[in-house]
Symmetry: C2
């Protein structure tokens, strides 16, 4: 079994050229023409590899290699290709194109799987468009039902149904959920998005758990007015309440008692946004995570309490929407064992670790034994244009993945 | 002499229909098609009134009624028609269309001025486009020279020369400065943009001084990254530094020792602005004003010191541009006296007051005796869609203005 590193790196580079930001930045948002073009490229590669391609009503893409024995649950691998604004070339893409390369290397080696092996490209792992991450895997796994999905609106108020119809994805949302037993195992290859593997010079991370993510949308409304004319004691400035809230998110996450707690205010939209106008409205997007779901919930509660207190003191109206608050996931021991045995066979060092970033595997773990495989990335950076994973690390990840798929499907 | 209130209110309403925001909000930004259409409407009204219209190389518009005696400096009145995003129908417009109505009422009464009377519509009183307010009057008055103007760039990097050329305003920037003695006096009618006249039920404010404005553009650069993956102690989040700075602007303005000091962070742009991404860059627009120029400068210095300290503590890079830091203006006693005598003749109560908002009169005061005339506005609101001035207050302001123009030009 031989991984073709050159072919894979060329494809990763080509995938990065589908971007709405100036290279090397990658912006590839759900259902944009750029996203659709990138999907078409991926489909062409899957078909060249002799895989049977299908897409569901949301745009989740399945590329299937049938197994020798009929009626068995498949072994899935994959990730996502969408990218937040000004992101990089590796987050998600390494798991999709690396998963394809693993399958190709098995095929080219003459291996015959007993179970089907399937590459999965999930729709909208990133929350850019509808405010909630892992849209495709939430739906596949039944974590969200069709009714919850139908309520989603993008920033312009467009529904998920309208958006997917415009991009050619039709059919009832109910049809997206996978039948029971569809997969017997799922494994996802991903860059670490943290500094630990690089720091300890270890090529392979075996992910034992995925941190519990929560995100809040907070809308603040104060009183606008002229920046010169309204005296300081008469103001109800929505931006200043937002500033206090962002600092409280930092304080609450930093003082949870565990290094694993992180909190971020990544969205801070100000209206009207003129230098001589007192801000009347601010929209905040807040993200809070922890490997411990209960500790995460305590930090979320602390932030919500602070929002209420800050807004009352400042005379600011507020609305808080909990966009998602998902439990953490534990990896399937059988899949972890297959990953570990593969790394050992290849003589690669590895460590067990938790993922603080969340992934579609968080939801796949609800329907089948699931585990993730991390490779190092430069400085732990991701979600930025200079995100980088070395070709030898990518190749090592794909080699472990290919052997693991063979073990699970053989 | 009779003011036609109905005609004037109809014109104010029509002017509000030139907007790029949903009514009643008014967004009318320099050199946009909407701004150009509003200018054309104003020109048509001036020509109907028998005034001679000319525009200079920046788009400042002059509508002239020649005086009986040649070679005398004119009496100017006017204001601006541009509006920041989501503003209202009265700020600036009352001084332009009210000034026109004052001139029409004098003409219709059979009055013959000895000096020319000229209506002036200033280009870009609002700083929306090039970041600096009072563009037209800065240039007219020579407060800024052609070289300073030529350096201006809008948010897309377009120069003032390119922007004005695209809108049909050509000619050297040097030609905008008015010759010495062009005006013998200038008077500007405006809504108060503060609550004092309404609170005390006084229809007329005589402005004795205009507060000194300063504005800063602050660019912060930290380290981006994944909101789940980067631990709190490893972060250099530009948004959190911006939040501390905005709160420091509030603190410095509130603790200056005088109620007249105001400080506002009206612009707060976050990059990349995704919920699961640590903000790497933030741009702040800060506005600080005081009727006391030295106290204003002390507050600006305090804010700059705080920016440096906050950014050093957080490991954030920063650039601070002082967009403008203008001295305050004192009104001309002769113009104030003419305003006072007119209000007395009409039996209207009045009070002397300072303007904390700044106006083109701040710069006109550099080249001729200048004063302003305020009328009440609802709740002191401005720069918001529900900005409102009552028709009877507008009419009273125009009547005082008409008599004042007659006094100064007669």
């Amino acid at each position: 079994m031989r991984v073709n590193r050159q072919r894979l790196m060329t494809e990763i580079e080509k995938m990065a050229s589908f971007t709405d930001a100036p290279p090397p930045a990658v912006t590839r948002v759900l259902y944009t023409p750029t996203d659709i073009a990138a999907r078409a490229y991926l489909k062409s590669l899957c078909m060249e590899a002799g895989l049977k391609v299908r897409e569901d009503a949301l745009g989740n893409l399945f590329a299937r290699w049938e197994g020798a024995e009929e009626g068995l649950g498949g072994v899935g691998t994959g990730s996502h290709i969408d990218a937040i604004p000004f992101a990089g070339a590796y987050d998600g893409v390494v798991g999709v194109l690396g998963g394809l390369e693993a399958i190709r290397s098995l095929k080219e080696s003459g291996f015959t799987p007993r179970r089907p092996i399937e590459l999965l490209m999930f729709t909208s792992e990133e929350p850019t468009c509808f405010g909630v991450g892992c849209l495709g895997s939430r739906a596949l796994s039944g974590a969200w039902n069709a009714e919850q999905l139908a309520k989603l609106r993008d920033a312009e108020g467009k529904s998920l149904d309208e958006a997917r119809a415009e991009s050619g994805f039709s059919g009832p949302l109910e049809s997206v959920r996978l039948p029971e037993g569809y997969y017997s195992a799922f494994v996802e290859l991903h860059i670490e998005q943290g500094p630990l593997l690089e720091r300890e010079d270890i090529p392979i991370g075996l992910v034992t758990a995925i941190a519990a993510p929560a995100s809040l949308r907070v809308c603040l409304s104060g009183q606008g007015g002229h920046a010169g004319a309204v005296l300081m004691p008469d103001r109800r400035d929505a931006l200043l309440a937002g500033a206090e809230i962002a600092l409280e998110v930092e304080r609450a996450a930093s003082s949870s008692g565990a290094l694993d707690t992180v909190g971020t205010t990544g969205i801070f939209n100000v209206h009207p946004g003129a230098i001589n106008s007192i801000p009347s409205r601010v929209e905040l997007g807040i993200d809070i995570r922890d490997v411990d779901g209960e500790r995460r919930d305590r930090v979320v509660a602390q932030v919500i309490g602070a929002i209420q207190a800050i807004c009352e003191r400042r005379g600011i109206g507020y609305e808080i929407d909990t966009l998602n608050a998902d439990p953490p996931a534990l990896s399937g021991e059988a899949v972890l064992a297959a990953l570990e045995a593969s790394a050992q066979e290849l003589g690669l060092a590895y460590k067990r670790m938790a993922s603080r970033a969340y992934h579609d595997s968080l939801f796949m773990a609800r329907i089948c034994p699931t585990a993730m495989l991390f490779i190092p990335c430069k400085n732990g950076w991701s979600h930025r244009p200079d995100e980088y994973a070395a070709p030898e690390h990518i190749e090592q990840g794909v080699r472990v993945l290919a052997r693991t798929l063979a073990r699970l499907a053989g």
